[in-house]
Structure formats: structure tokens, C-alpha cells
Symmetry: C2
Subunit: 301 residues, 2 copies
Amino acid sequence: MDTFVALDWGTSSLRVARIAADGQVLEQHHSGDGIQHVAFGGFPAVFAAAVERWRLAPGTLCLASGMVGSRQGWIEAPYCPCPADFRAVASRIAWVPDAPGGLRVGIVPGLSTEASGVPDVMRGEEVQVFGALQLLHLDEGVFILPGTHSKWVRVAQGRIVTFATFMTGEVYAVLRRHSIIGRTLPADDGPLDEPAFLRGVLHAREAGSLLHGAFSARTLALFARIPDTALPSYLSGLVIGEELRAHRLENSGSHPVLVGAEALTRRYQLALTAYGVQATTLGDAATWRGLAALAHTLEPP
Amino acid sequence: MDTFVALDWGTSSLRVARIAADGQVLEQHHSGDGIQHVAFGGFPAVFAAAVERWRLAPGTLCLASGMVGSRQGWIEAPYCPCPADFRAVASRIAWVPDAPGGLRVGIVPGLSTEASGVPDVMRGEEVQVFGALQLLHLDEGVFILPGTHSKWVRVAQGRIVTFATFMTGEVYAVLRRHSIIGRTLPADDGPLDEPAFLRGVLHAREAGSLLHGAFSARTLALFARIPDTALPSYLSGLVIGEELRAHRLENSGSHPVLVGAEALTRRYQLALTAYGVQATTLGDAATWRGLAALAHTLEPP
């Protein structure tokens, strides 16, 4: 393998990178061409435009992870069931028939798990976790991937054993935009107000349920006990604090790994610290490393 | 006192009743004239129209409870702090100056409480609780008033000691209308599907947080493990189950009183039964009885 192309193709955005045989990221680009913005039948053209600049030779390997493999994506890559290791995922890559330019385009499957008769799913985060394992030389641990739908992933002996989704980012957005709480919030979130954020984190633990805790964003505003400009940070603390509350991390000795964009992982770091928990943080590098590792499995350098 | 008029004047609706000295409800009417539909300065006219049919003599007592006493209401009746008994509430009734037709119009204050530095508030439910205490000859207990913002009220020695709000109904509505869960839900809720509802109640307990539990409404639909028509009932079970989970009622020996409209109290009854908890249920009668008791305090028969 010479170089290969990695695509992180989610619901709202598309990131592409050209990666060298040794794993070095040579060049990367970002666009708003998430799958929700691709018209029916439009995936080959959007893909071709995204990689055109590199004039790739036919047969070049291109690996994509994320919602591009969902039913609403380019082609469906059926979920790989947990527990799953790196090779199980690699063996289930779905290959796009007749990809543009004679390229070899593979779509990484997401993972599914089941607990108490209820399934859970993820697409894309599994690649980040495998990348994080390699970057940190780990084969076990708890990985937290914050986002619209946060994922908590448990790894043992190099395998993703199980995981759970928390609708944290989405619930923040719907409470902010569509509930009574939103009425006193300013139009923009503004910069993070750390004390207000931490106050929300701690109240979430106290409240025992977001259904109760969230109402405090209303009453504190009603009694002018918090400035309106601090309310977005407070509400963010309430929802992230609720996510942590549910995991009963205190005194667990757990040392989770946070993987994601800095703006979010910083909030989780702050919240975890308030819970007395230390965490390691990784950014985008985990995605590219995970896709590079899969590429090496398919085409050993 | 001959007869008096009771008004249950909330955000979305207005109910009025003419009540005899012995507490009997002689006549009642319902309209959509909730305070959110009353134009600025429009309260006297809406009130006059609502009681016009009774050609009330000047000086007749009219007592209103609910959001009509809020800052967005007719006149603001400042919150009465907990713990509060019946007489404390009666003594803080706010009297409308120059009410239409020379009527004596009083607005019942809501209650406020505070826990861990965070205030909580209610308006109208305190009247229902005092009415329930009288109807059931109780002076202590836990009272659950389901709704957009459910209230859990603790009474001891005839006083409302403390209470907590759960945004259950509102969170159901925003998840249904504005989150990814809503995509697979039918346009109308349809009749209650009891098994799906109870499945939601039990999953809420298992999930430990609605942020996680709610995602099951998405994945069960994705894997066709539940019919789309059952999803509204399942989601209702998830949010009501989350409210119960937070109270750790199991094996508590608690025997709460449910007060509210039958469509909702029936769901809470079902959910409580799944938790092994027995409950007593009361309907509208509690509001009229509570207002009648306040009226008798002001004008002994």
C-alpha cells in the first residue's frame, strides 16, 4: 500500500484525509456534505468531488466510516455484533460496487449490542475506539465519545464488549429550542461559563433525574438566581452531569478515555473532574488512526 | 356564604364552577381561555364572560387558582413558601382591585420550596392537594399530580412540607415532536397500548437515565422489534417510568395519592403497579373541594 484515503462521513459533515503507509496524515479537508445533505443517488458524485484533488490511481483504497453505511447512506453496511475486535470489523467492510474512477471504496460497518432485550447501535465511533486503543497502547478501558448521541464503550482484551448511547447533545438541543427552558435563554450559547456549567453538573447528581433537574434551569431564571447569559452553560452542565450520574463513576477507580472534538471533550473533562475522575483525552487523530489500522489489515504495507 | 364561584385557570384552559355552601358542585363549564390565550389587559373581560351566565350578585366570592396568579396572569399572587398549610395559603390570597360586576375575586398563591439551593414552584396543584387531604380525611402522605410538569408533593401534619417538579409531559412532547425518535412515530398517539407502555416503564428503570433509555425508542423501531403504532405508548412509558425510577418507590411501603385527569392517572396507576406500589386516585373533585375549603375559611357558612 502506498497511500490510502480515509473518510469520516457522518450525518452533518464529511471529512477526508490522504494518509501515508506509515499512518501519517498528509492532507485533510472538511465539508458540509454530510449524508443528510446528499440527494438520492448522489453519493458517487459527492465522493468523486471530495477526492478529485488527489487524482488517485484506479484501485486505490478508500475507507469510509460513519452514517454513510446506514440505510440512509451510500450502501448499507450491516452492523457487526458485539463483542467485536478490529479484525471482525475489517472482515465485514461493505465494498461499493463500481465506485467512481475504479477506486476500491469500502464502508466500515457499525456495531450493534444488546442489553436487557434492547438493541443499541453506533456507526463511526467504533473506528475512533480502535484508533484510540492503538494510539494509547491499550487493550481495555472505558471510552467516552461525546456528541449528539454520546457513546460509552467498554473494551476488554482488545474487543468492544458492549456500549450504550446517551442522547445528551440532542436532548440539550430540544430542551433549549423547544421547551419552556428556552424562553429565558439568550439566542446564542456564548462562551462556556465554567462555574455555571459545574453548578449544572452537580445539580444533575443531586436531582437524580433530568426530568426533575432540568426544571431548575427554569426556576433559577424565574428567581433571578442565575444570569440569563449563564443559562446555556448551566443547561449543558445539567445534561452532561446527568450522563455522568447514570454511570456512578464516583470512587469507581475508573480512568476513562475521552475521544472527540476539543470543545466537547473539555466540558466532559471539567465534569469528570467535579466527580473526582481523571480522564485521558484524544481528538481527531483517533479516527484517522483507526481507519489506517483497518487499511493495513486489508493491504499490509 | 350562599354559593361561590371557583376557577381553575391554567396555561391552556379555564374551568369555572358554581359551588353550593355545602360544597356541592352545582354547575361547571370549560373553555380554552387559558392564560396564554388572554391578550394583555384582557383578563377582566374573559372573567366576566365566563361567569356572566350566573348573574352573580355584587360581592359574591370568586376564587381562582393556577397560572392566573403568575407574572403572566391577571395579577401576580406571590408564592407562599413551604412548609405551608391551608390557612397560610388562605391568608395570602391576592385580591383583584375593581373586579368586574363588583365581585370579590381572589387569586390563590402558588407555593415555593427550596432544596440544595434550588427553588421549585407550583401554582394550582396546592389547591388539589388540600382538596385531596379533605376528601380522603388525611393529614399526611405523598401526592402525585401528573401533567406537563408533574408535581410530587409531601404532606405531614396537614402541611405541604416540600415538593418536586418533573418535566415529564413536556419532555414527552419535545422528544416526540422534535427529536430523532419522532421520525418513526405515527402522527397521532392513538389509544394506549398497555404492553408497550409497561415495556417502556420497565426499560426506564433498567436504563438508569432517560438520556440512555430514550434511545431504545429509536433502536427498537430500527430493528422492527416494536410496531410503529406502539411507539407513542412505549415512549410514554419511558418518561413516566423515569419519573418513578427517580423516586425509588420499590419496597418503600409508600402508598401515594394520584390526583388528576383520568387519562393520565390511569397511566401512572399502571406504572406504579408495575413497581409493586398501590395508589389511590382522585380526579377533578380535588380542585373544587380545595377551593371550597378555602372559600369556607374566608366566609364561614
